[in-house]
Amino acid sequence: MAKKTYDLLFKLLLIGDSGVGKTCLLFRFSDDAFNTTFISTIGIDFKIKTVELGGKKIKLQIWDTAGQERFHTITTSYYRGSMGIMLVYDITNIKTFDNISKWLRNIDEHANEDVEKMILGNKCDMDDKRQVPTARGEAIAREHNIPFLETSAKANINVEKAFMNLAQAILNKTPGRVSEPNINIGTQDTSARRCC
């Protein structure tokens, strides 16, 4: 219950093939709603959401990117400066999963070195149409040492958790307040101060 509106601002980025549900995940998280009409994102959009973690108000600015192949080069320029990247595939579409390694390479090349990552297998509500076994998602995540979750923007499964976990990971890395006491120069070395 700190008094500030927020203490920290985290910039997150959603990437992954077109149609995997990036925009829907963002919409679910920010507006707690789901929309079935598919309007492909042509560009870069963002929404904000204020959350509380570890007693801190954190403003998340979440960027949603166009997933189409032809925009890949352009969208990489938005990687810089993002503190967390959500890499999304569609469990009902093996191709989007196969592309994960390509997206990971993109991150390596263009994002900040210390960026926090997370892999999401979305649309887990459609188990009947599943093409990517959970184990495969877990395996690739383990291989790259990246947290993994299966989500559903539609059924609201793990969406909040995914974003909060990513934010928490960033927060964990954010250097805390230096705890050493303030040094009182005036009492220690007055000559240093009076020289000017």
């Binding site: 920290l8 032809r70 925009f71 954010t174 307040r177 005036g186 101060r193």
Partner: protein, 947 residues
């Protein structure tokens, strides 16, 4: 002041940074805070393209290692940073003010080269910031600076020192809100400020320590409450003040800008306060006594302990505490020490108390205690004093105040000593008004006033008198007819009349004898010559809801003064926050605000994000219109921005108009997207090196980016094809398969042609040139103004198609010679390599004054270029033979065709400013070069040259 070697400091600073950050400059300076100058080091640090100014304090001077530097402030050089410098001519220092939404820093440095350089670097950094491509906005947040901000002492002090700054929400109903655009989220400031500090969090009372001791010196409070040490003197501080130095922990200048969002949060919370607070009853004791400069008696219990239950808060006011002359001059008063002790000793024995604050203005003193159990719920303690004595500045009269917030209720306590004498009630009224208007709690921004508190208690020697003859007064006193007395009391009458004096204040009925004026040590009213009329000088008033007076008494047993002390006990309703309910409301408000903020992000719709341009032809523009609709709630500013490392927002054959504009909410803007291939872009499209493909990035300020994909197919043209390729083409270019076209445009393709083979035949000169020259030779010999009159666009396009498709085979004689002449020039200008190839350009200029060398140069040209050059020269000589009819002269043709056939390679400019510089430089050379080009041509136009 001495200045340490600057390089060394920069090196030390560098050691405090991470490897990808670089200190570009560091300088010794003085930071000015509260009028004091203290030694600092200022450094400019860069990370990629982002800059920040770091201010360090030094643990010792000179600094020998990086740990001697303590980071004090960090200011990102971003769009919100404001910087101004002044250099008064009579001074040897220049002053630099750096302002961010979070902090103001004022520094002084010597007028020296390093200082100038430092300023220049800041300016440069600002420029860089504004030029950095807008990608990533609105999150230009300098993430790398965050770790430093958290390290900096400014950050820690302003939010970390106040022990009460935690976890209690203060609705700050008194904070003035800009009611005007409450519903509009200020995206600008929320973008620029990456970590808001609550303005209140900086209200640490320790700020008090840094102010010069103009008023009371017995500031104590917070530290004491913290440490449980109630000794009211602070010898360390006193020592420092007397040495004229500050305690070193300067706090940032207050008065930060609060984001609108924060204001809205406060407003919403205030509106919903009842949802998450409950009213709890608190006992407040108020006591006031004019002690006439006397020392305290043995015990104050009779006055201060009025009930079996201990009050939660003690508010004790004194007047005429110290009547000595010294009290006016010196800040310390031995009387204060005595009375502080006496008050402390007389606190209710059944509870443990902590001092909140005490403040003294000469003889007027206010002491506030609170029960220790409430320690965690009191915050934003501040005080102020207003003198109203002689000339309005002397402290013999006036008022002192203490304010704080208890749970969720703001409380203000005032004790005052107003002007004396029976007839001076106007003067008293004026004193009241002055105290009311001049009391400012300056920890707040803007400063808080008495009237802005939920509940106010005003106690003191208000000095109002009873307007009755002395005998009447005394007889009423004898009869205990207090009511009759109070009816004629100057203050009571004004309160009844609802005048502007003490408006809104209430007072209980003083069912006790007037408390003034006694012969000291007795219960006898004034027996001196002055024979003063007894009066209710000493009063206790309150203002605000939920206050119930339990007692209102005087205490005649205490006789040391000519006044009797007065006391009152109150039951006060304090709004106490319910954590769970507060959290719920707070989260709800956050959600609403997030939605509000998201709704107020710029939103647009673009009707077409995939533009396809079919069959684009040389010099024939095609335009498509894209409608950008502002479907959001605020005006949007859009701009096409550069992508990746590009220097322009699109390819040179593409253009968007407007490329930048503002659209009002609900309004559409039509953007024309034009594809136009001209002589500068044709060659690469012909050779297949480039395609008609591009993506435009339409960026909204503080909002999203939209991509508009542009694609199309280009109709290859002889215009923009190389001489080498053209002489290999037997038919029109359109009949050449694309793959072959790309092949023959490759460098060295000529050498691969097998001329012995069928189809391996090469033309001497491009047949397109021949066709145009042939036409001009036939129809233009006797025409006026050749090469001077412009041609017709439609005809030029017709000629282009005729040459490119071979239909009709020859240029029809119906066309104007001027159109053909212009097409001819355009053709020469579009050649990827000019007739005299680039590599020969400088040589040409240097040989221009020598016929023989010029001839040798032409001989050395690649065959097809040589042929083309000589062919054109021959044609021009033909024209000159008819100069009597066509009016052409050799000088004109020399300089005109010199320009067309001799072209320097245009350098690839990385920035517009670089281009400007080159153009400028070239301009001076130009005349000289033009003359040389003409001279070169002259050799070949004046005579038929045998090579």
């Amino acid at each position: 002041m001495f200045y340490v070697q600057l390089m060394d400091i920069a090196k030390l600073v560098q050691k405090t940074l991470t490897p990808n950050e670089k200190c570009i400059q560091a300088i010794e300076c003085a930071r000015i805070l509260d009028g004091k100058r203290t030694l600092r080091y200022a450094a400019i640090v860069i990370n990629k393209q982002e800059h920040g100014v770091f201010i360090f304090t030094a643990l010792r001077v000179p600094c020998l290692q990086s740990s001697d530097l303590v980071l004090e402030s960090v200011i990102p050089i971003d769009g919100s940073m404001r910087c101004s410098a002044e250099a008064p001519s009579q001074q040897t220092e220049l002053r630099l003010s750096l302002r961010s939404p979070i902090i103001n820093v004022l520094i002084e440095m010597p007028k020296s080269d390093p200082s100038t350089l430092f300023l220049a670097e800041i300016k440069k950094a600002k420029d860089v910031y504004s030029q950095v491509p807008a990608f990533g906005e609105p999150a230009a947040i300098f993430p790398w600076l965050e770790k430093y901000k958290r390290q900096s002492t400014d950050f820690n002090q302003s939010s970390g020192e106040n022990p009460f700054a935690e976890d209690i929400f203060d609705p700050l109903k008194h904070m003035s809100l800009d009611g005007t655009n409450m519903h509009v989220v200020d995206t600008e400031s929320s973008r620029q400020t990456t970590w808001f500090q609550d303005d209140m969090s900086s209200l640490s009372s320790s700020y008090e320590h840094l102010k010069p001791a103009q008023k009371s010196r017995s500031r104590d409070s917070l530290d004491k409450i913290l440490g449980g040490d109630e000794d009211y003197t602070d010898s360390m501080e006193t020592l420092q003040w007397s040495l004229g130095i500050s305690s070193g922990n300067e706090l940032p200048i207050l008065g930060k800008t609060i984001s609108s969002r924060e204001k809205i949060v406060k407003k919403f919370l205030t509106d919903r306060e009842l949802e998450f607070t409950d009213q709890h009853s608190f006992r407040i004791y108020c006591g006031t006594w004019n002690v006439n400069g006397q020392s305290p008696p043995d015990s104050l219990h009779k006055w201060m302990v009025v009930d079996a239950e201990p009050p939660d808060i003690y508010v004790v006011g004194f007047q005429e505490l110290d009547l000595s002359k010294e009290a006016f001059i010196f800040t310390d008063s031995p009387k204060e020490v005595e009375w502080q002790k006496a008050v402390k000793a007389a606190l209710h024995p059944k509870a443990k108390y902590l001092k909140v604050k005490s403040i003294r203005l000469v003889g007027i003193m206010l002491i506030v205690y609170i029960q220790a159990k409430h320690k965690g719920f009191i915050k934003f303690i501040d005080s102020d004093s207003v003198p109203t004595g002689i000339m309005g500045i002397m402290g013999n009269k006036g008022g002192v105040s203490v304010r704080f917030t208890l749970h969720n209720t703001s409380l203000c306590f005032v004790t005052s000593h107003l002007a004396a004498h029976q007839d001076e009630y106007e003067r008293r009224n004026q004193d009241y008004k002055d105290i009311m208007s001049k009391t400012k709690f300056k920890d707040f921004s803007p400063p808080l006033e008495i009237s802005e508190h939920d509940i106010v208690f005003w106690i003191g020697d208000l000095n109002y008198r009873i307007d009755l003859p002395i005998d009447t007064v005394k007889s009423y006193i004898k009869k205990g007819a207090h009511k009759k007395l109070i009816l004629e009391d100057q203050l009571y009458r004004q309160l009844q009349a609802n005048s502007e004096i003490f408006r809104g204040f209430e007072e209980g009925f003083p069912n006790f004898d007037p408390t003034y004026k006694f012969d000291s040590g007795t219960d006898n009213y004034d027996s001196s010559e002055k024979n003063r009329v007894p009066a209710y000088c000493d009063r206790i008033l309150w203002r605000g809801p939920g206050v119930k007076q339990l007692r209102y008494d005087s205490h005649p047993q205490l006789k040391i003064s000519d006044h009797k002390p007065v006391s009152s006990l109150f039951d006060v309703g304090i709004r106490v926050l319910d954590d769970k309910r507060f959290k719920r409301v707070y989260e709800d408000i956050m959600k609403k605000l997030d939605r509000l903020e998201n709704d107020h992000l710029p939103q647009i719709k673009i009707d077409n994000t995939e533009l396809i341009f079919k069959d684009v032809k040389f010099v024939e523009p095609q335009v498509q219109v894209v409608t950008v609709a502002n479907v959001g709630q605020i005006p949007v500013e859009f701009e096409f921005i550069n992508k990746l490392d590009d220097q322009t927002y699109c390819r040179p054959w593409l253009k968007a108009t407007p490329c930048k504009s503002i659209i009002e909410a609900g309004v559409c803007c039509e953007v024309q997207i034009e594809v136009y291939v001209d002589k500068s872009t044709a060659a690469k499209l012909n050779s297949g090196e480039e395609k008609l493909e591009d993506i435009l990035v339409l960026h909204l300020t503080n909002g999203k980016d939209s991509f508009i994909t542009v694609s199309g197919n280009y109709m290859t043209s002889s215009f923009g094809s190389s001489i080498e390729a053209l002489i290999q083409m037997h038919g029109p270019i359109r009949e050449v398969p694309v793959a072959e076209l790309i092949e023959i445009e490759q460098p060295g393709s000529l050498s691969r042609v097998d001329i012995t083979k069928d189809g391996g035949r090469l033309y001497m000169v491009p047949k397109e040139i021949w066709k145009m020259v042939d036409f001009l030779h036939k129809y233009a010999m006797n025409k006026d103004e050749l090469f001077q009159q412009p041609g017709r666009n439609s005809e030029i396009q017709f000629i282009r198609d005729c040459l490119d498709t071979g239909r009709p085979e020859h240029i029809p004689d119906s066309l104007s010679v001027h159109s053909v002449a212009e097409a001819f020039l355009m053709f020469l200008e579009s050649l990827p390599q000019p007739v005299i190839p680039y590599e020969f350009y400088t040589k040409c200029l240097s040989t221009s004054n020598n016929l023989l060398l010029s001839k040798q140069l032409v001989t050395s040209l690649p065959g097809c270029h040589k042929n083309t050059f000589l062919y054109i020269c021959a044609f021009l000589r033909e024209l000159l033979k008819h100069s009597d009819k066509n009016g052409l002269d050799i000088k004109f043709l020399c300089s005109f065709f010199g320009e067309v056939m001799l072209r320097p390679q245009t350098p690839l400019f990385t920035t517009a400013s670089a281009k400007e510089a080159v153009v400028k430089e070239r301009r001076s050379k130009l005349r000289e070069e033009d003359a040389k080009k003409a001279a070169f041509m002259y050799h070949f136009l004046s005579n038929e040259i045998e090579l």
